[in-house]
Amino acid sequence: MNTMYKRFKREPLLPILIVLVSLCLIVFIVFPLYQIIKASFLTSDGQIGMDGYKRVLSGGGLSRSLTNSLVLAVISATLSTIIAYMFAYTFAYVKIPFKKLFNGIAILPVISPPFVIALSAMLLLGKQGLITKHLLGLDNANIYGLHGLVLVQTLSFFPIAFLTLSGLLRSISPSLEEASQNMGAGKWRTFVSVTLPLSVPGIANAFLLVFVQSLADFGNPMTIGGNYSTVAREIYLQAVGSYNMQAGAALAMLLLTITIIVYIFQNFWVGKKSYVTVTGKPTGQRRMIEKGPAKTILFIASMVVSFVVIAFYALVPIGSFIKLWGVNNSFTLDHYKYVFDLGQKAVLDTLKLAVIATPIAGLLGMIFAYLIVRTKFRGKKTLEVVSMLSIAVPGTVIGIGYILAFNKAPLALTGTGIIIVAAFVVRALPVGIRSGVTALQQIDPSIEEAATNLGAGRAKVFTSVVLPLIKSAFYNGLVNSFVKSMTAMSAVIFLISAKYNLITASIMAQVENGRIGVASAYCTILIIIMAIALVLLNMLVKWLSGTNRRTYYGKDS
């Protein structure tokens, strides 16, 4: 006790931080999840029972939504992985022009609002679609349903798989393939017997990433799902539409179970199977495929996919200036006028809440990372697991959890801005933590000891040494939180109120009312805001570290 007190007196900051951070996790992750579990086992009159699960598993709409989601996820993940592998292979092995384009395409879905592809799909392939009606002359084209969802999800999510796979393929040592050829295998044989087996863990990883994304996807099923109901959508409809918390909670539990199993499988099984350590550094120089039919096929295929993706993204800004798509194709600014007249509040609310959430999530992420990498305390492992596991919790699950947890005292936060900010932060945190942890692990601990040794206290060490050294991770964390918050939908759709409305919710409302032009205008504005914000954030971080570098006695001596 005595030594503990002494240690506390010596370093009061650390225990305070630990308590604070644990409290955040408990209140905003553990407690809501507990509320879901509790609600899923209660009947409508408050008795303990399995009613919720019975309703979900006894056939009918709810149970169909579960199978629908799984079918959709498998198809989307398979297609995404195949396209991504082709892309990644071309990127790493084939000498073709326009490679920079690939990186651009990979970033698009990360920074774009969740509906962009869905909106374009309507503009291109819907009833009044550019292709369906005007090119093919179809009168009753229907994009709504499974096929539409597969198309939209594949185009939205394959870049995530691409990032994973291209990292892996680039880190396969070329000497392995050279060894294979040296022993007599031809190019095709080498690909089948060496390259492909080595990339199996990456393929599994990419597949699972997209699988979970698809399962958790809320925006696309809401907009172009049509009659094809999915779990994430059904949770929302049950909880908010018909206020059936038992069924919603039970469904949420099932979804959560699946995503957590996938997450654990991914991290503990696929991770162990990996033959290639991804260092980010290309190992040796690979001789690229420069000619032959393989090159031609891959080049054409990847160009076609790139073109399709870019076309889908470009269509939304174009659509935002068109009066009534497919019917009256004249130029107009009406949609923007509408957004500025009626939608200003949603834009400003979103911006305000995102601006509040961004630094909180960014800093909290770095603090978490610091605690995980650099300190020792009892319960650290639990803290680490809970904080990382929250990446596997789908947004809709967070959403229903927050309704259940914060609707009544002691934490009656529903309707406040706080709860939306909390949801933003919780959703953005895991990525921030992960990039912070990676950055910190690369710093020699004796650098921090040196600062301590020269007289700096823990806070000073953090601000003067640690933070400057992990500033790019910090920046990534900030950007990620801002982008995630601005485009957040699945969790916060449960939490909006008359007091706080959000852009994404407004877009969804416009889509539901068939005002595609207005929705497109919203999306375009959102993209512009984010582009500006990214530039500003970059400048801010540069400026912050600039004051650190420019010490007042550096130069004049």
């Binding site: 002494k6 010596r10 370093e11 020699d444 004796s446 650098i447 000891e449 040196a450 600062a451 301590t452 040794n453 020269l454 007289g455 700096a456 206290g457 000073k460 003067s464 040494v465 400057p468 050294l469 570290s545 650190n548 570098r549 010490t551 007042y552 006695y553 550096g554 004049d556 001596s557």
Partner: protein, 357 residues
Amino acid sequence: MAKTVSLKGVNKYYGTDKGTKNYAVNDVNLEIEAGKFVTLLGPSGCGKTTTLRMVAGFEEISEGSIYFGNEKVNDIPPNQRDCTMVFQSYALFPHMNVFENIAYGLKIKKLAKNTIVAKVNEVLEIMNLKEYKERTPSQLSGGQQQRVALARALVMEPGVLLFDEPLSNLDAKLRLVMRDEIRRIQQQIGITAIYVTHDQSEAMSMSDLVIVMNKGRIEQVGSPIEIYQRPQTRFVADFIGTANFVEGTVKSVEADHIVVHTKSGDLKVKRSGFKVNDKVTVVIRPEAVTLTKGTTHVGIVRKSVFMGQTQDYEVEYEGQIIQISEPNPILEETFAEGSHVSLQFSEHSLHVIPANS
């Protein structure tokens, strides 16, 4: 102001699952005079670095006390202890230039701006780093980084200067230069220095006092020459330099020497303190034996290697391989493998330690 450092019954242990204690440092007692250069020497895992880190405050002391001067420092946090450290990896701040690195601690002390500039410039001058002050650590060579690390520690004018294997990342030639430089600067400012290394030649060439550690305990404390010529245990004799060990029994004790009876005949050894019939081990350094073509103490050369300054032999003698090193080899006078040679033991260079020590 150089300070004395004392360690009184210092222990560092980690609890195990079974409730037993794993000692990293076991009952270390030390008195280090102000202004002395003291080296903790030992193989990896012997507790030397842990001891140094307890002095710096980076490791909690499980039991015992550490004093700087008369002040007990156990409860003083590492950032307030009057000691600075040169790290093995140098631990220069990569985001600051040389000047900023050196000024870092002074800024934390909140010294006046012009004082800081003056002090940093002074130490830059001493360390020959003036022209590099605008550079970042990545733009410096290993030796320059090492000097910046030392400068950053020195500029704080600490009571105690700590070194954690600072030369292990340098190439062999530079290591020789730097150890002379560190010793020269330490002498020049008369600071108390504690230096950790596993390299015996570093310890020998720099220290006033060498502390040999093994398995968390102090094996021997002494000047470099004492440690080499009068090792008290087999571990020390073996760790410092090369040693041959011959077991025997004290046969007689004379006025200025004792006679030890061994398998290989009687050896005359300087030093008393042992009684007749004591079981002892004779420590024979390779340079304590001369080879001749005589007919007494005859052995067979099993290996003969030319090393430049010496010719090194392994000679089979009375069923034991003895390592022998002869200075100034001349081609015609060296012995080839397979030759029969006579071993002459130099009485003054032999040393006796208790058997099983």
